[in-house]
């Protein structure tokens, strides 16, 4: 009888010892320990006991269970996180985990459902719960206005969700973009005119009419028309729209690392240009701009002989 008693006592003692031993091993190997490691350390430990200890640690929330290519891994969980989740059950912990993994891009509720394999009602309840606890928040995405993505409370939403500097409260600020557009263009145009007036050799003229994106960025910052801080990338997107307007052309040159504004050893140069041709002959006639051009035939309801637009244009 005493043998049995002894065994039980050793069992109890063993459990606490084993737990501590496992915790020490986890701390030694922060990447995680496998079953193999535990077995090597404590060869006398039976697999059942080991499993029991590990389950206990998991339910206490002190161990993290992960899987890698070779098998299961056990990792020490930081106690701070464990403290937060006190009072929550496993499902909530799981959802919280999924949201945390999404980082600052946020995750949609349907994706949470897929990842956690929980039914929709459960997920919604948990999300409400977490929100009331101020652990997560919902951010409206600018891409689809009805979609809400969830992310951790204290994270800054990513630019792709809020739209960055051009969006304020999910609204695209077109006037702001227009104003910036015009200001950049005026700056480049005045630089080009100054270069022409300087009457130097043509090569020098052309080079002095160029402005790097860094210069334009500094000019816009100094102008102070923007409430939001704009980065050089933002200015480059504005300058690209000027290229698509046909008012500006760009070239790339190699620059020394460390000069202001150089990115990966390159700098982008912009200069104002003139149009290549005057507005073409076709658009100087009413037919070139006519909204009902396709319907116009001789003898029809709409015909050149009775065209209202032509009559107005002729009397102009």
């Amino acid at each position: 009888m005493s043998e049995v008693k002894l065994k039980r006592e050793t069992n109890v003692l063993d459990v606490v010892e084993v737990e501590n031993r496992i915790k020490e091993l986890c701390q030694q190997l922060p990447h995680g320990i496998t079953d193999q490691v535990i077995q090597n350390d404590m060869p006398h430990l039976e697999p059942q006991q080991r499993a029991m200890v590990i389950n206990k640690l998991l339910s206490l929330g002190q161990l993290d269970l992960l899987r890698n290519s070779s098998g299961l891994l056990y990792r020490m969980k930081d106690t701070q996180g464990a403290g937060k989740m006190k009072g929550s059950d496993n499902q909530e912990k799981l959802v919280y985990q999924v949201i945390e993994d999404a980082g600052n891009k946020g995750i949609w509720s349907r994706d949470i459902r897929f990842k956690s394999n929980l039914p929709l009602t459960e997920v919604n309840k948990i999300l409400k719960n977490l929100e009331s606890k101020k652990l997560i928040k919902a951010v409206k995405s600018v891409a689809a206005s009805k979609k809400k993505v969830y992310m951790l409370y204290n994270l800054q939403p990513d630019r792709s969700v809020t739209g960055g500097a051009w969006y304020s409260d999910q609204d695209f600020e077109s006037e702001f973009v227009e104003v910036l557009n015009q200001q950049c263009f005026k700056f480049l145009q005045s630089k080009a005119e100054a270069a022409i007036d300087s009457k130097q050799s043509p090569m020098v003229q052309r080079n002095s009419s160029f402005a790097t994106s860094h210069e334009v960025w500094k000019y816009i910052c100094e102008l102070g028309i923007s409430k939001v801080d704009l980065s050089m990338d933002d200015i480059e997107t504005i300058l690209n729209t000027l290229i698509y307007d046909g008012k500006v052309e760009m070239s790339v040159i190699a620059a020394k690392e460390g000069t202001a504004g150089s990115v990966d050893g390159q700098m982008k140069l912009y200069r104002g240009v003139n149009a290549v041709i005057q507005p073409t002959g076709l658009v100087r006639t009413p037919c070139g701009l006519c909204p009902v051009f396709e319907d116009c035939h001789d003898g029809g309801e709409i015909s050149p002989s009775h065209c209202v637009y032509m009559a107005e244009w002729l009397d102009f």
């Binding site: 973009v177 698509y244 070139g288």
Partner: protein, 596 residues
């Protein structure tokens, strides 16, 4: 031959040659190659009128004939093509260009040849000399007495007038135009000499603006020539090729014939009507043996087109860069005028030394500066000029096809901009640069709010200026699982806009004819009154009679006439402006056709 082209050709033929020629011409355009019997049968026009119309069309080079398709015995077939008839739209531009290059003489030569189609050199010279003389004689000789250039001449004229004054000849001086009214008989010395006109003609031929018409090979002569030439047995019995030989395939194309033509232009004096009749009769009987029978000349449209193309490139360079660069490009193009073939992609390489030497002397620029300008031209993103090598200080070429493509692209962008606004133009240019984009990407790059960008894209798509390319992720083209990419194809869009241009010109011509028809009564009345006025003036009437006749037109009618005149001028100039777009788009499309 699209419907729009046929409609425009019909209107042009009607304006220039009349309704019968229009009927026959449009029938040939729609029907392809046909023989005489079919034309008569299907148009319902009598035989002799059909023959005359065909003659007119052949004379102007719009119609070609060849032996039938079914073999040597079948009747000749006639074929027209739209291109030649559409050139009629461009006649004013040809005449104006010649005026700027060769003065009034050249202008009249080209005008005569365009009106007559083919003419021999001697008849052209005579007609032009007569016309010039008529313009010079008569009532007013404009002399700008105060201009520095003609000081010597004005001095001479003053002496001349003083001498004449001594003989009590009436000389009037019109203060407004600084013109001197000199009676006709004093102008005996001022006639246009045939030699001057011949010189101008030769100059036009040297620069290839005029060319000989290819000699016609009659079907009968060909049959008799067949046994003479040792042809291989396999040659078909009809050696006349289906495609008419191009004028340039003949070696004498640009050779001025030796012509004996001495004399001067004849003035048309009203008192010499009877003598004129006798002169005309004598002219017909006089066999006009000037040594150039059978050698007819025509206008070389291709050469004019090359000239217009060069002008377009030079003005584009002037707009984009500056005046000096455009002068350099002009020099390069002038040097390669005769060495470059019409369909070449770029001119022959020219060395920087040559360019520097050939610059006009008024531009005294230093050699290194010229080099800098050339480097800038090469670096320009529009790629007008390219570098082909390093020998001789750098070999440079003008990229003709690329320049045409850029000009065509600028035309397309300008049409989109004027029609749909600058934001749509931004989207259009963005798609031209980036080729294929999704809708979301278009919104991001163009920085236009999503709703508006969507609207604009759909409008452009509805007008077929932008195309949609579907890339499926799954074999069923399920909309949620397909990529939809927007794209712009430059060549098909250019073709579509060209057809729109044709339709626009046809609309403008229609409107012009309508306005004239509407006010026909008024126009006739004003013509009658002008005729009455002219005859009264000639017979020496008093001023009261003249004012009485003038008052037959009321003030409102005068206003209406004035408005009508303005309308018609506006429509005319609009036609010419649209023709410029047509020229750019046609050149671009032809340049891609030749390279592909």
């Amino acid at each position: 031959m699209t419907a729009q082209e046929v409609r425009l050709c019909g209107l042009l033929l009607r304006e220039h040659f009349g309704e019968v020629v229009e009927k026959v011409g449009t029938h040939l355009l729609r029907g392809g190659a046909q023989n005489l019997r079919i034309i008569i049968h299907e148009t319902g026009v009598p035989l002799d009128l059909v023959k005359k119309s065909l003659c007119v069309l052949v004379q102007h080079g719009a119609c070609v004939f060849s032996s039938g398709r079914k073999g040597a015995g079948s009747p000749t077939e006639y074929r027209t093509s739209c291109d030649r008839i559409l050139r009629i739209l461009r006649y004013p531009r040809y005449i104006y260009t010649t005026k700027t290059l060769y003065g009034d003489t050249g202008e009249l030569i080209i005008e005569e040849l365009l009106q007559r189609g083919h003419m021999t050199m001697s008849s052209t010279v005579k007609t032009v000399a007569d016309r010039l003389t008529q313009n010079m004689e008569g009532q007013y000789l404009s002399v700008c007495i105060n201009q520095g250039l003609s000081k010597l001449f004005s001095l001479f004229l003053k002496v001349f007038l003083v001498l004449r004054f001594l003989f009590f000849v009436e000389i009037e001086y019109d203060k407004e135009t600084a013109a001197v009214l000199i009676p006709p008989f004093l102008l005996e010395g001022l006639c246009m000499d045939y030699g001057e006109v011949s010189n101008a003609f030769s100059k036009l031929v040297e620069t290839h603006f005029l060319q000989r018409c290819p000699p016609m090979v009659a079907a009968g002569a060909a049959a008799s020539a067949a046994p003479a030439t040792p042809a291989t047995p396999g040659t078909p019995a009809a050696p006349v090729s289906t495609a008419p030989p191009s004028p340039e395939s003949f070696p004498d194309c640009y050779k001025v014939p030796h012509m004996t033509l001495v004399g001067r232009g004849k003035r048309q004096l009203c008192s010499e009507d009877g003598e004129d009749q006798r002169n005309a009769k004598r002219a017909k009987m006089d066999s006009q043996a000037h040594g150039d029978e059978g050698i007819c000349w025509q206008v070389n449209f291709e050469r004019f087109h090359l000239h217009f193309r060069d002008q377009a490139i030079i003005s584009a360079v002037a707009n984009k860069l500056d005046q000096t660069s455009s002068e350099i490009v002009r020099t390069m193009l002038r040097m390669s005028e005769v060495t470059t073939s019409p369909t070449a992609t770029c001119t022959k390489p020219l060395s920087a030394n040559e360019i520097f030497r050939s610059l006009p002397p008024s531009y005294n620029i230093a050699r290194p500066i010229v080099d800098q300008y050339l480097t800038l031209l090469v670096d320009d993103p529009m790629e007008f000029v390219g570098k082909a090598g390093e020998s001789g200080g750098g070999m440079y070429v003008v990229n003709l096809h690329r320049a045409l493509a850029n000009l065509a692209r600028a035309t397309l962008e300008s049409v989109v901009q004027e029609r749909f606004g600058s934001r749509s133009a931004r989207i259009f240019r963005l798609l031209l640069r980036k080729r294929h984009l999704e809708q979301k990407q278009v919104e991001d790059f163009a920085m236009i709010p999503a709703k508006e960008a969507k609207d604009m894209l759909y409008t452009l798509l509805a007008q077929n200026l932008v195309q949609l390319q579907e890339i499926p992720k799954t074999p069923d083209f399920a909309p949620s699982r397909t990529f939809y990419l927007y794209t712009v194809n430059q060549l098909p869009t250019a073709r579509m806009l060209l057809q729109n241009c044709y339709k626009t010109v046809a609309n403008l011509i229609e409107r012009r004819l309508f306005e004239s028809r509407e006010n026909k009564r008024l126009l006739e009345k004003s013509q009658r009154i002008e005729a009455i006025l002219a005859s009264l003036q000639a017979s020496g009437a008093e001023p009261e009679q003249l004012t009485e006749v003038e008052e037959m037109i009321t003030a409102t009618e005068k206003q209406q006439l004035e408005a009508l005149r303005l309308h018609i001028n506006k429509l005319d100039s609009a036609e010419n402006q649209v023709d410029e777009s047509i020229f750019l788009l046609e050149s671009y499309i032809n340049s891609t056709a030749s390279t592909s």
